[in-house]
Symmetry: C2
Subunit: 248 residues, 2 copies
DNA sequence: CGAACTTTTGACAAGCATCAACACGTGTGG
DNA sequence: CCACACGTGTTGATGCTTGTCAAAAGTTCG
């Protein structure tokens, strides 16, 4: 079984950011049972209230997690890309407490949760790595609470752009200062707790002061240090991913 | 060793909300090595940047986790009480990404992380329960992102009050509709991304419309259904804790 | 009984939302 | 190939929610 070619290889790579794994552990990850499924942009991987039977790994494309509040407004909770295990937590919890939706066309691998539980006795290190993965996820969520709670619009957007840049680079999809933004301005708004109109104005402001460039979604971060300062971006909270791109 | 009298009993009780544990597992939790320490209000249990060597369990009193952003504003990320394992995640991560501070005088039990890691082979169910505990924590954080990101001031405060009520009841510290609020209005503001002045006005509005009563910090939720509706409070995200108080 | 918090009040300012319209690019079908 | 719809981005006018500043009143505790 040629490990490097397994669709789960990027997932394994991500786990290894957190923990050293033995050859047997690596093999156990790559041979997890999984069903690969292509989905169109906008498709739901899970919905709030769904019973949690599977967790899934992103193979290509982008997804986000989000909640819808009473008045119908949407709040994006996180953005995920190649190699991310989305809803690893569903391994342990009974029911999904949020939605997971494809931002672009994606390929995902569904893994039955039981298969992961079965690794506990035989490959505890793998389970430990997955636990860490969920903890890093939680750390990112804490940063997002601070982002939407206590930063102004400019900082929120700048922070989000920096984070996405680092995650893209850690996933080896792009350089952190030059990438195709996988979000529309409306989705940036939903991620930052703003309106799309105001996000648009913030983008213009950031362009105006020379922090970012590029046209449309092709984003170029001309002045990383500047943008990071505007966004109060200190990447410690990304743990392994920050180190992976030399920001630790 | 009389389990019921161990200071870790409330922690065990919380873990058992998530998983059925054997007698041996229960015993293993209660006999975890720990150092009990009383702390004054305002004391830090951990600081951002600290190396993570211990995790701690709250025995009495209240603590919060928070971050400080560039301009000096503070964002409270969660509120914890008796039986909560705060920073269980530090078992796995290298460095604390936020502060943990006592809101009132507290007693905490520090547990060396290594002792928890050592349970992996011998008591996997205990480790699994702790994992679930961290996942429920993450679920609550997601709800907070939506709360500060997409709800107006009234709803944010109402939501927070409902959540604290349910957690207090689940911890058997009070009824969910009648309790001593462990936060000052300024701390409520830091938890909801508002200013204390505005929080004060929201409290008056909620009192005015008959949703809440009581004077000072002694809060009485006169109309739970009303407050829950104002706050868009649907407690699924609390998982086991919601069920424990009959809200599932 | 005074010092340090905490809550409350008022006047005013600002950031962001809202609404509405328009521009632009892209893909689709006639 | 053009017409058209649709999603996305852009702009302007206006107003509300919430922040800011400052001061007073109430509370707690040594």
């Amino acid at each position: 079984m040629p490990g490097e070619l397994s669709p789960l290889a990027p997932f394994l790579r991500k786990l290894e950011l957190h923990m050293r794994l033995s050859a047997a552990d690596r093999e156990a990850v790559l041979s997890l049972p999984h069903a690969v499924k292509p989905l169109r942009a906008g498709a739901f991987l899970f919905r709030e209230g769904d019973p949690a039977r599977n967790c899934c790994v992103i193979l290509s494309g982008f997804v986000c997690r989000h909640k819808v509040v009473a008045e119908g407004a949407r709040q994006i909770l996180s953005v995920h890309m190649k190699g991310d295990g989305v809803d690893l937590q569903s391994v342990m919890l009974d029911v999904a407490d949020h939605n997971v939706q494809a931002l672009t066309a994606v390929e995902v691998a569904y893994i039955p949760t039981q298969a992961i539980l079965d690794l506990m006795p035989t490959h505890p290190a793998v389970v430990q790595a997955m636990w860490i993965e969920t903890l890093v996820d939680a750390s990112i969520q804490r940063e997002w609470i601070a982002n939407v709670g206590r930063r102004d619009a400019r900082a929120r957007v700048a922070h989000l752009l920096c984070e996405i840049g680092v995650k893209l680079e850690a996933a080896e999809l792009a350089r952190r200062d030059c990438f195709e933004l996988p979000l529309t301005q409306e989705q940036v708004a939903d991620a930052t707790g703003l309106t799309s109109v105001h996000v648009n104005r913030v983008f213009q402001a950031l362009r105006g002061e020379g922090a970012i460039g590029g046209r449309k979604r092709s984003l170029v971060i001309d002045d990383w240090a500047r943008l990071a300062e505007v966004g109060d971006f200190r990447p410690t909270y990304l743990h392994g991913q920050a180190e992976a791109v030399g920001l630790a």
